[in-house]
């Protein structure tokens, strides 16, 4: 139980810290540049953002959509002559591996300057307690990762990446994604081309806008949003759901269609992991596992997405091609993409309790939750505006004692034991983002972005940290910022990025209005941040 309480406190503090430094993860694939002897910009408009050709390349299983072998400058290594197919099942089905190790490396480094008001948050910790130190200026190494991707023949694509270092000196990274993708599996069932693909392993959900290929220096706030129930100030919520949309998921995914035009769908079954990324492996000595199986429960979470992209060129040939045929050369389509998504899972909390006969039992609350929303993307030549909205909802099952009275959280060890749960007010949040990218030159990208997350529990939990100096009391928005930025490609594989995060006004000093009796905030301030990054892949 202590761990449970500590996790909630840590989550609330983490929420404040996450607002400051949160370099995002992203990848471009130098291995493909080597194998095809082509530039990064064949697939990326401003790496790692994919252009239409890059989307088609990814859809096809990291291959050129047609005649792939004619473009390979380093031919694949045969793992069996094609004629071996005729011998199947008396021979292994022949495949290939890339002719060179398809490995890429990525590194980035950051510089940050935070406005002078950053020290005001020291007031949020009890007197005499060291507050998290936020330097005015600071350098930091960011991500160093290795990744490999390619195709094994028979339309089987692979991906694996490992982060050696993440967000700071000698900071342990970990496994990123790793999966096999069986492209156009529907041909086995005589389905239309590309109607069915299967992906298995560890992967980012098929989000409307990938965080892994996000060009921004900071994550989309809504993707980072966990749902921690209200700890104080009103009815408490027994919700401690650490799940966020950008968590890497273990599971399988069925998908179909294309990202560069027409329909696209995906549906995934993934492990339940609502305890955060670093939960311990299942460790029963009686049922030893061969790998680090670490689900919260038998239940598998479900994610689904449907979208349709309308390419708006008048000429049918151009409209249906991978890239539009412009007057001065191929380019991304002018398009409108509309989509929706839904994630359903269950969050688990357990208590030592008793039944009505006072026999000790473990009480388990399996609290359904969902995240849903809609998204759009409109592209005109080199201008792209896109965004999404999200609604998050967690059922709240509050522990009650034998009289049916809700128990205060965290449970008092000397108090009555819970015997069951009653449904309380759900923990919910809303939010989203809108971003506009304008590629002024092939090497220069201008960005404007607005992030918003509205979470009552987050706001109220801020008060728990120090009830004498309420934080952000008058606001319903817990995270709300404008982020203009510029990015410069020094080379196709080297990028300098600039981001200015303009946060809303916040308060740490609140007094009671002597006339109205309502709380009034004093000394509002902003903690804006400038982040500069250098990044390269090779």
């Amino acid at each position: 139980m202590k761990r449970y309480s500590a996790v909630r406190q840590a989550a609330a503090i983490s929420f404040l810290l996450v607002c400051f430094v949160c370099p995002s993860l992203s990848h471009a694939i130098p291995a493909f540049a080597r194998m095809y002897q082509t530039s990064c910009s064949t697939c990326h408009s401003d790496f790692p953002k994919l252009n239409d050709f890059g989307k088609a390349f990814k859809d096809a299983g990291f291959k050129f959509p047609a005649d792939d072998e004619t473009f390979l400058k380093i031919p694949a290594t045969m793992l069996g002559a094609p004629a071996q197919k005729d011998l199947f099942p008396k021979a292994i089905w022949p495949g290939t591996i890339p002719g060179i190790p398809p490995i890429g490396l990525r590194f980035n480094t950051f510089f940050q300057k935070t406005s002078g008001n950053r020290g005001n948050f020291d007031a949020l910790v009890p007197a005499g307690t060291p507050a998290p130190f936020i330097p005015k200026t600071d350098f930091s190494s960011g991500l160093f990762s290795i990744f490999a991707a390619g195709n094994f023949g028979s339309d089987i694509a692979f991906w694996v990446d490992q982060d050696f270092n993440v967000g700071g000196d000698n900071t342990a990274g970990g496994m990123g994604d790793g999966y096999l993708r069986f492209v156009n599996l529907g041909r086995v069932f005589k389905l239309p081309k590309d109607a069915l693909h299967l992906r298995a392993g560890r992967f980012e959900l098929d989000l409307p806008f990938s965080q892994a290929r996000n060009i921004n220096l900071s994550d989309y706030d809504i993707y980072d949003q966990a749902n921690i129930g209200q700890l104080a100030f009103g009815p408490q919520q027994n919700v401690n759901n650490q799940f966020t949309m950008i968590d890497a998921m273990n599971g399988i995914e069925l998908s179909g269609g294309h990202q560069y035009g027409g329909y696209h769908y995906s549906i995934a079954l993934v492990n339940q992991n609502t305890s955060g990324l670093n939960q311990p492996d299942n460790s029963s000595g009686f049922v030893p596992s061969v790998a680090g199986f670490a689900s919260d429960a038998n239940f598998k979470d479900i994610y689904g997405r449907v979208s349709y992209r309308f390419n708006l060129e008048q000429d049918p040939a151009s409209r249906n091609a991978v890239q539009a045929a412009g007057a001065t050369g191929p380019r991304d389509h002018t398009y409108l993409n509309l989509g929706t998504y839904y994630f359903y899972g269950r969050s688990v909390t357990r208590f030592s309790g008793q039944d009505l006969a006072a026999t000790p039992v473990v009480l388990t609350a399996r609290q359904p939750f969902y995240r849903t929303g809609a998204d759009f993307s409109f592209n005109y030549r080199t201008f792209n505006i896109y965004g999404l909205v999200m609604y998050g909802h967690d059922v709240n099952q509050v522990p009650v004692d034998a009289t049916g009275t809700p128990l205060a959280l965290p449970l008092d060890p000397a108090g009555p034991l819970p015997v069951g749960f009653v449904r309380g007010a759900p923990a919910a949040f809303t939010g989203g983002f809108i971003q506009a990218d304008y590629l002024i030159h092939p090497w220069l990208m201008a960005i404007m972005r607005w992030d918003a997350v509205n979470s009552g529990p987050d706001r109220l939990n801020g008060l728990v940290l120090n009830t004498d100096t309420p934080f952000a009391l008058p606001f319903r928005s817990t995270r709300n910022r404008f982020t203009p930025g510029m990015q410069f490609l020094i080379h196709a594989n080297i990028k300098a990025s600039f981001e200015y995060q303009i946060r809303p006004q916040q308060f740490v000093t609140v007094v009671t209005n002597p006339i109205t009796g309502a709380p009034a905030a004093l000394n509002p301030f902003r903690t804006n941040t400038i982040v500069v990054a250098l990044e390269y892949v090779f």
Binding site: Q37, F64, Q323, A327, T328, G329, P330, R331, A492
Partner: protein, 187 residues
């Protein structure tokens, strides 16, 4: 009788050219270069050749043509390509963009201005090809050893130019009378 006269005239003309025509030989360092002569006025050819885009490459990588030649730009790839050149011998006013066309189709362009044309594709920035437009029919591509031989060049004053990818173009005046020599070391 008329045809006999004509035969004699042609024969004399050929003999005269043989007597008053020479050759220009030499060596260009490094090899794999292009050499051409420039006379007083450009001489137009009436030919058509093909520059292919295949496997994300311009094929051939270097092509030498005479002014007046039409080049058919062919797309043999199952990806879209584009062809443009940002200048001809540095003259940005002579830039041109050929647009987009699908696999199997080609678009012609007649080169009437001499110079070096650097071909690019605006979706595959690693692609580059070169068309060297010679103002005369006297041009040659050297081998790897850099040796060249321009034969049957009428005697006279010329400007001889040597080009190699990535090197600075060099030109020099030359008087052709019999066998002449011009060596280049391109930097």
């Amino acid at each position: 009788m008329k045809s006999n006269y004509l035969f004699v005239v042609v024969a004399l003309a050929l003999i005269a050219q043989a007597c008053f025509a020479g050759s220009v030989k030499g060596k260009v360092t490094p090899g794999k270069s292009v050499v051409y002569l420039e006379a007083a006025a450009p001489q137009m050819a009436d030919k058509t050749v093909t520059m292919d885009q295949k496997g994300l490459l311009f094929q051939p990588h270097v092509m030498v043509i005479q002014t007046g030649t039409t080049v058919d730009f062919l797309n043999s790839d199952k990806v879209q390509h584009n062809v443009f050149w940002p200048n001809i011998s540095g003259d940005k006013k002579k830039s041109h963009n050929m647009g987009t066309w699908p696999q199997g189709q080609k678009r012609p362009f007649k080169f009437t201005e001499p110079g070096v044309v650097t071909l690019l594709c605006n979706v595959h920035p690693e692609m580059a090809g070169y068309i060297i437009v010679s103002p005369s029919p006297y041009f040659a591509e050297t081998g790897a050893d850099g040796d060249y031989n321009l034969a049957n060049v009428p005697d006279g004053q010329y400007t001889i130019t040597a080009w190699h990818e990535g090197k600075k173009v060099q030109s020099k005046k030359i008087t052709v009378s019999g066998n002449s020599t011009a060596d280049f070391t391109l930097q």
